[in-house]
Symmetry: C2
Subunit: 348 residues, 2 copies
DNA sequence: GTGAAAGCGCTAACAG
DNA sequence: CTGTTAGCGCTTTCAC
């Protein structure tokens, strides 16, 4: 395997180099006979086109840049399904994936575009006010955001619909006759960095609670882990008013420690209070106990982000694409919400 | 920002294009004054060299390919620290990271090398007999394995020292006076694919148990999750002989469910039996309860893999590199191993 | 339908 | 110490 070039293929097939190129790209009609000879030659030489040369001449890299957060939290936060889905999705469309860590900030973006390392970028870990968003908007290549900054600067955004998640949570608690709700807020690592989803969820949950007349308390910040969860549980137990108490845990890494803290106090979710978590279904099902959850949909979000990106790279003839694409979460009941007492059922 | 070239930089600095190139690569002595002018020009134009052109002319991409497993398990198995560490490590050495999923098999490897997408490859998810290893060995670029196949085919391997892990586990149980040990084996997803680490651990644990006269039973396969863990615990409780029982859980995703199964049966690790897990310290510490563990060291393994790879790309003057580089795990006691009764202490 | 030839933007001899 | 020049392996006008 000594690195053949398209020239070698051309010679072996008895055609010109350009014909080889056109066979590969399909940008020209090629007679069936020559196409066959060319393909046979490529096969025989196990030819692979040189990506750099291709990028240089064709100004297309067939690479998408993926900007991911790699802080200490990401492991718990379920970053992997995003990466995985984007990788598969890219491969299915003949793209490679170049990984860049978010801590590079704007410099990483500039490098990706400036060096022509990729044709487009998917960026995660978006903050409410994110300087990178404006840098991204000025790049000569398309950028898709996973998340919604305050000002998208004209960029396409894909994410879970956290507003809908908040509405679903409030509705579920109200419809099952709860008298009060607590929200386990985000850890300082999230609020300090003003990650976009935290604000989106909290604003919405306040609004819907008010609309439906549900007294609501947000505990914040609540650190992920034993201590933070213990403090939160103790606070709730000490301060809750008489009646049915609901707890919403929107940050998935906080759910497990919260469940542990409840168990340690012999408080049973679904009996002594209600619990709704926002997490993947997989995590909710796998937990001990399984809990009623509003689904994060990392795979769906990633797929749509990839779809948007492909469309941006090659806008089809059809109508456009929505600039903001929010994936609707689903509620799955797993018994950690106390059912409505027969007397207290209200309609949603 | 209209995509400047090194020619533009050269003109602006009043030098030739090659001088610009030499300023960047440092492969030639450049007078301080011209170097300054060139750097100023690059700065002024926010110049970034075209990666494709560079790869084409310089036959160096400054990219490392990373082949990762993206099966259903990988999320639980702690893949992220590997990816993260390799990404940072690569960046620190001016390399980009191209992500390829293991399910592409040999084709992915051939593509990476054939298309000159990268200068070297790090491959994870190695099976005992892995066709990809032989393909990799024949590639014109270096490949580092994270894991140890039966036949490394001359490739450099970096991984945790599972033999040492087995020894440490057996020693700890024997030294604390245990009369018997069980090993919670790997799930079918691992054994079916003959992933290399499973065999390495199991062979060693058998050997050391025999050496130290510890009766040992390996339960296998044990599926990850509630059902598998429950079955394993029930089996152990039903079949264990009188005396002190130790349990070793080498597959980290199995540990949590195992702990749950114990708790559900009111069996307390550290009191009613002993438990040693193999997992990251972080996971062991964060678990409920924290458990005595033998450390997986994904970051250290990744760092060393990267180091080996860089050395392969540019063998320094010093002596060579060991072809197999095993990271020593550490035991951290967290109270899930019953301490030795005063009368039964034996020396290690 | 197919070829010939001119670059894409960089690196690395070869010259001085 | 610096400039000139010939490619690297593709894509893509032109031309037929």
């Amino acid at each position: 395997m000594a690195a053949f070039t398209s020239k070698d293929v051309a010679r072996l097939a008895g055609v010109s180099q350009s014909t080889v190129s056109y066979v590969m790209t399909g940008k020209r009609q090629i007679s069936e006979s020559t196409r066959r000879r060319v393909l046979a030659a490529m096969e025989q030489l196990t030819y692979e086109p040189h990506a750099g040369a291709r990028a240089l001449a064709g100004r297309r890299t067939q690479v998408v840049g993926l900007v991911v957060p790699f802080d200490s939290m990401s492991e718990m936060t379920g970053l992997l399904p995003f990466i995985e889905t984007i990788a598969s999705s890219a491969r299915a469309n003949d793209y490679e994936v170049l990984l860049v860590t978010a801590d590079e900030g704007s410099a990483g973006l500039r490098r990706l575009a400036g060096r022509a390392l990729c044709d487009a970028i998917i960026m995660m870990d978006i903050r409410e006010q994110d300087e990178r968003v404006h840098v991204a908007a000025a790049l000569p290549i398309p950028v898709v955001l996973v998340g919604m900054p305050d000002d998208p600067a004209g960029l396409y955004c894909v994410d879970l619909d956290f507003d809908a998640a908040a509405r679903i949570a409030v509705d579920e608690l109200v419809d099952t006759g709860h008298d009060e709700a607590f929200v386990i807020g985000y850890p300082a690592a999230v609020t300090d960095r003003r990650l976009n989803f935290a604000g989106r969820f909290l604003r919405s949950v306040h609004r819907y609670a008010e609309v439906r007349g549900l007294p609501l308390t947000v505990l914040e910040p609540v650190e992920v882990g034993r201590a933070g969860a213990a403090a939160a549980v103790d606070h709730i137990l000490a301060h809750r008013r008489p009646g049915r108490t609901g707890v919403v845990v929107p940050y998935n890494a906080s759910i497990r420690p919260f469940l542990h803290a409840l168990r340690a106090r012999a408080v049973v979710p679904g009996r002594d209070l209600s619990l709704i978590g926002i997490s993947t279904d997989h995590q909710a099902e796998d937990s001990e106990p399984p809990y009623t959850n509003i689904s994060e949909e990392p795979r769906d979000v990633s797929r749509r982000a990839m779809k948007t990106l492909l469309w941006l790279l090659d806008p089809g003839p059809g109508v456009g694409h929505p600039p903001v694409d929010l994936v609707a979460p689903r509620l799955t009941r797993r018994g950690t919400v106390m059912p409505a007492p027969a007397s207290a059922v209200r309609s949603s």
